[in-house]
Every structure is written in C-alpha cells, then in structure tokens.
C-alpha cells in the first residue's frame, strides 16, 4: 500500500512517514496540494493521502476537491490532518470528500486508530 503525506512542514511529514511506515505503507511526500497532484500524475494514485489544511500554492481542502473531481483517483482514502478543529471546518472537509479527520496535535495511537477504522492498518 502507498501513502502520500502532504504537509508544508518537513518535521510533520517525517513524523507521519514514520507512523504510517510502521503500518506497512510505502510513503511518498509532497509539500502542498499542487505538488501532491503532480506526484499522483507521475507515480499514480496512492491508497491513502494524509492532508494538512493550510499550505501554500494549493491548500488541503482545494486538494481534496481536485482529487474528487478526477475519475482516476476515486479509490484514494483521504484523511485531513490539521490544526483546524471547528466543527464547521470538519463538516466542510467531509462534504468536499474527505473520509476522515485528525486534529493536530495528535498521538501515534490516534492516527493508527483512524487507519484501523478505515481498514488500513497493519
């Protein structure tokens, strides 16, 4: 299984990479939504995207909308991983097509729980 970690913080990408690697994923990274779309174009659709909300160039919500508009990427599981934690924002992300939502800061256990709920853990 392949995971695409999308966050403009290198430290956050490294942390997410470690947790999902332990769950058996091969991990690729992108620093914003546009880079992530380019990555999908060049290497194909991953099984899972972990998506920050606030990023330069293309934010996480715009990325979710862009992915949902593509016919070749419908099977990707999309999880927001963000500090944005108002109910209205969670509802917006789900309405745009995100499957799950993890609020920063989070523990490794919480992310593994969410993957398990989505049927994606080791």
């Amino acid at each position: 299984m392949k995971a695409l970690v999308i966050d403009d913080s290198r430290a956050m990408r490294m942390m997410l990479r470690r947790i999902v690697s332990q769950q058996g994923f091969d991990v690729v990274e992108a620093g914003n939504g546009q880079e992530a779309l380019d990555e999908i174009d060049s290497t194909g659709a991953p099984d899972l995207c972990l998506i920050d909300w606030n990023m330069p160039v293309m934010n996480g919500l715009e990325f979710v909308q862009a992915v949902r508009a593509r016919t070749d990427a419908r099977q990707i599981t999309l999880m927001m991983v963000t500090t944005e934690s108002e109910n209205s924002q969670i509802v917006r992300a789900l309405a745009a097509g995100a499957h799950e939502y993890l609020i920063k800061p989070f523990t490794a256990d919480a992310l593994v729980d969410k993957l398990s709920m989505l049927g994606l853990s080791a």
């Binding site: 470690r18 769950q23 058996g24 969670i90 995100a98 939502y101 609020i103 989070f106 490794a108 729980d113």
Partner: protein
C-alpha cells in the same frame, strides 16, 4: 520519539511482556513501545529506549526497571469505541436480542464497570442513539463506575480534549455528538444526562445496585490476582439479569476462573452470558 525500536528489540519486549503480564503486542505496535518506553527511559536515567531495552536484556536486569516497563506497557488506555469489534457485536447481536427480550418492560440497563474518563459509556450512548432511536421512549440506565474520584468527575463533566476526541471517534460522530467550546469538546447534553458515573472500588465491598442487562468490564481484571478476580466475576454475575451479558477485554475470560457464565463467540469478541 527520537529513537526507532529495532525489530530485534521489539520482539524482545513483546516476549518479555508476554512472559511477565500475559499481554501480547503484535506487529505494527512498534510506535507503542517507542512512545510508552520513552518516558520510562527518561525517568530511569537511560539515554533512550534502545539503552533501556539493552539494560532489560541483561542476564539479571534491574527488577525496578522491568516493573516500570511492564507498567508502562500495560497501563489501561482508553478511547472512544475502543477495539471497535465489541461495539459492532453489541450493535448487530447483543442489543437486538436484549431489546426484543425487554420490549414489554421497555427497560435497558448497561454498566461500564471500569469506566475511566467515560469514553466507553459515552460510546455506548452514541451507539444507542444512532442505531436504536426507539430507545428514546424507554427507561435506559447507563451507569459508569471507576476507582478514581478524579476520573469520575471528569467523566461526569462530558468534556474532552482534542487529543481525546481524536481517539476512536469517526469524524461524522465527532461533529454529530460534540460541540467545541474553547479548547474542549463537550458531548451532547442529552447524552451526558443519560450517563451517570460514580466512584466505586471493584475489589472492596459494593454498594447496593440494580441489575443490569449488559456489563462491560474490560482490561481491568488483569490487575487483580485470582481470588479477587473470582470474587469480582461472581459479583458481576449476581448483578446481571438471567441471560445478561458480560463483555471482557480481548485477553480476558471467565473460563477456568468462575462458573455460571457461558462463553459465546462472535468473531474477535467473546461475550459471557449468565446461565
């Protein structure tokens, strides 16, 4: 989490825990070893988790370090819908049976016997509200007890941190049942009023209690020796209606401990039904 646990170290810790506490941790839990043992390493004066495990692998390890490792790895953690599968069995199997049985009296009672900060009982409340709306017209008792007065007060408050609502709650459930107020998430007031938490020590004398249709007592019996475990299971049996159900932790069982229960297996979950 500055160090990574090697495969060899992880295998050693898993075998050590199995030997010392009969608790098993499988592949994919490396992060758990890292995160739990990082604080033990700090507190016991080792540079990192690798150094701590190296010390544990000595022919005669320091018993205090061994104990600290076992405690850190077995400390009862809690989350909403913990382990998922018991709640699925409850939704598909257990509740339809009990609801049908109690249809005349319109009464349902559930006890979370080691309720910690309330996630288990509130998960049951969310499950009832989502899947069994007819229960709104029933007399439903959702009772929680815990040893610690402090955690009972927190459970009764119905307030959870972002870290806590991240654990086990799906995003749709979070927005349906919680409202953000400042830094905390408040559970829906209707559900909060449904659940009542009280302090109680399972290992000493019990206050008079009603009888329950379902009792959850997960991952707590492992902390007691056999005679106390027997006593608790016997008292729970008396607190259950005939044909009532006990839900234990994955590694726990009444079999070979006490009489009066029949084990009923549903996939990964075993229910213990009173005879």
């Amino acid at each position: 989490m500055s160090t990574s646990v090697s495969v060899e170290d992880f295998t050693f810790v898993a075998a050590y825990l199995r030997e010392k506490s009969a608790i098993s941790i499988g592949p994919g839990k490396e992060y758990l070893v890292e995160s739990r043992l990082a604080s033990v390493a700090r507190e016991t004066g080792y540079d990192d988790v690798t150094a701590l495990i190296r010390a544990l692998r000595q022919p005669i390890p320091n018993p205090e370090v061994g104990l600290a490792v076992v405690e850190a790895m077995t400390t009862n953690e809690t989350s909403f819908f913990r382990d998922h599968h018991p709640f699925e069995v409850m939704r598909v199997q257990l509740l339809p049976e009990v609801i049908s049985r109690n249809a005349m009296q319109r009464r349902l009672s559930v006890w979370s016997a080691a309720s910690s900060t309330g996630q288990e009982l509130y998960s049951i409340a969310m499950l009832l509200d989502t899947h069994f709306p007819e229960l709104a017209a029933w007399n439903v008792t959702l009772h929680g007890t815990d040893l610690s007065t402090e955690v009972v007060a927190k459970a009764n408050s119905g307030r959870f941190s972002p870290l806590e609502v991240n654990r086990g709650l799906s995003a749709p459930m979070l927005v349906k049942y919680f409202e953000r107020q400042g830094a905390a998430y408040h559970i829906d007031e209707r559900l909060r009023r449904w659940c009542r938490f009280q302090q109680m020590n399972l290992a000493t004398s019990w206050p008079p209690m009603q009888q329950f249709d379902i009792v959850f007592c997960r991952n707590v019996l492992i902390y007691f020796d056999l005679p106390v475990r027997q006593q608790i299971l016997e008292r729970i049996r008396k607190s259950l209606v005939p044909g009532g159900y006990l839900v234990l932790g994955t590694a726990e069982s009444t079999v070979g401990v006490v009489e009066g229960y029949t084990a009923v297996r549903h996939g990964q979950t075993t229910l213990f039904k009173t005879v």
